[in-house]
Amino acid sequence: MNTKFLRHKVAFNTLFAREIRRFLRIWPQTLLPPAITMTLYFIIFGNLIGSRIGQMGGFSYMQYIAPGIIMMSVINNAYSNVASSFFSAKFQNHIEELLVAPVPNYLILAGYVAGGTTRGLFVGLIVTLVSLFFTQLNIQHIFITISMVFLSAILFALGGFINAIYATSFDEISIIPTFILTPMTYLGGVFYSISLLPEFWQNVSLLNPIFYMVNAFRFGMLGASDIAIEIAFAIILVCIISLSSFALYLLNKGTGIRN
């Protein structure tokens, strides 16, 4: 193996390890809140309200919303991990530690995205374990389940990275999650099947990429979906390629990080 490859491997591992150390160090802010919030979702929506709703798509309401709630926590945590970590690095100027070192930009991007993806998956696992206290999850398609949650985490980690590049204050890394990400997640079919919506709103839902992720993930877990799985994978892969290309372009240009 050539020395450049080995050097890059060490640099990536270092950045990745630093990102993991960061979210584990502040676990009361990163791992505990989603566990508590999602427990409340299961109790209130799944148990109390869900018992009056009855079945949804052939499943108990609790079973129906569990995949969506898991996916929602993965998406939010992958996004916010990278957005806050990269913006903090900019804000405290310690991003310069990476910029002066012989670390290519694609590795900087990969390191942060890997960190965000890992936190997303970590939280997803915690929420999955929490959900087992409320319902049974018999995973129907293990490969689809794992690959969809993994790709979704990558996609939203990339989104968080781009948000952090443009952000100039801490307010600006909470605007997108509050005003765009959360509404898209709630309207992405986490709590309902779009077959319940009027035709116009069904068509609007098809423009929401989170809708495809939630449904593909639900298909993996329950075997039921509102859309074709191939389309969901195609959309998410196109989004990943587009966002990673754009993030790399911004890094190469030095947007937000170099004078």
């Binding site: 020395t3 450049k4 080995l6 050097r7 890059h8 060490v10 640099a11 591992n13 270092t14 950045l15 630093r18 150390r21 960061r22 160090r25 903090s88 690095a89 405290q92 100027n93 310690h94 310069e96 530690e97 990476l98 910029l99 002066v100 070192a101 012989p102 670390v103 290519p104 030095g254 170099r258 004078n259």
Partner: protein, 307 residues
């Protein structure tokens, strides 16, 4: 060999400010080089361009013959940077900061840890290795930045005002440390506002003002250019009312203090003889200002006059 070569370097910021106006600079390998200039002269921009933190507008930078445009990674590997502002993650432990920085240079933890330990001991931070960086004192933070810059054993160390806000004792110990690093072969470029620091440490010097190099020479030649020196003399007893010194440019600061200006090379014996003749005894004396400071102010003044 040339450690750093800068050719026709310009930098125009997005607001139109022209920070560098085509500077040229060479620093020899093994040198201890001072880059001086008033605030806003372009020192930090120059350092920023060399270390890839600032994107240049035009020109060429080579580090040990490696063009920073052609092979940025190879050029960066030669450089260790101690920036002016603290720029580490205050929530990380001191040793983690060093080991991570080594990792970014491709040095695995098995090699980085002993190197970090060695630097922490040398710089008096060993007891603080498990402390979070934000809990360190100002002087310790400065030393941490130096340790971090050295963890990958750079051949060119760039220090941007490394002793700003550091007490005299620590400053002197940092000088000794840097002199030892330089003696081992590391080329050092230093910017500082303490001109005494540059005079004591550096062999060669460039002065930058308003984005232009206005002087680039060796320290000895520069100091030899001093036309005159000013001394403050402290006398044992008050001067008489009719006191005067022929052929000496002086003025009386108070009853027992004289300020005397001598041409460079003039003998001090003549002055003391004249004072003795009048029964005046000198208890102590000092240079009024740092020698380099006088030249620096003179050069910057001239540069402003020509603009």
């Amino acid at each position: 060999m040339i450690a750093l070569s800068i050719q026709h370097l310009t930098k125009v910021y997005s607001n139109g400010f022209e920070a560098l106006k085509g500077i040229n600079l060479d620093v020899e390998q093994g040198d201890f080089f001072a880059l001086l200039g008033p605030n806003g002269a372009g020192k930090s921009t120059t350092i920023g361009v060399i270390s890839s933190l600032v994107t240049k507008s035009s020109g060429r930078v080579q580090v040990f013959d490696v063009d920073t445009d052609a092979d940025a990674e190879a050029a960066k590997a030669y450089i260790g940077l101690v920036p002016q502002e603290f720029n580490f993650n205050g929530f990380e432990q001191v040793k983690h900061i060093l080991v991570s920085q080594a990792g970014y240079y491709g040095i695995p933890a098995s090699q980085a840890e002993p190197r970090a330990d060695e630097l922490l001991k040398q710089l008096g931070l060993w007891d603080k290795r498990h402390t979070t960086a934000r809990a360190l004192s100002g002087g310790m933070k400065r030393r941490l930045m130096i340790a971090r810059a050295l963890v990958h054993k750079p051949q060119l160390l760039i220090l941007d005002e490394p002793t700003a806000g550091v007490d005299i004792e620590l400053r002197r110990s940092m000088w000794l440390f840097l002199q030892a690093i330089n003696a081992q072969g590391t080329t050092i470029i230093l910017t500082t506002h303490y001109l005494e620091e540059a005079e004591n440490l550096c062999r060669n010097i460039a002065i930058i003002d308003k984005g232009t190099i206005i002087e680039n020479t060796d320290m000895k030649s520069l100091l030899n250019r001093l036309a005159k020196e000013t001394f403050i003399l402290y006398l044992t007893s008050p001067l008489m009312a009719d006191f005067s010194l022929a052929e000496v440019d002086y003025h009386q600061l108070d009853d027992t203090t004289l300020e005397v200006e001598l041409k460079r090379g003039d003998s001090l014996n003549h002055l003391f003889a004249a004072l003795s003749q009048q029964g005046i005894e000198v208890s102590s004396m000092k240079n009024k200002a740092n020698r380099l400071e006088e030249l620096f102010l003179d050069l910057v003044d001239k540069s402003e006059a020509t603009l």
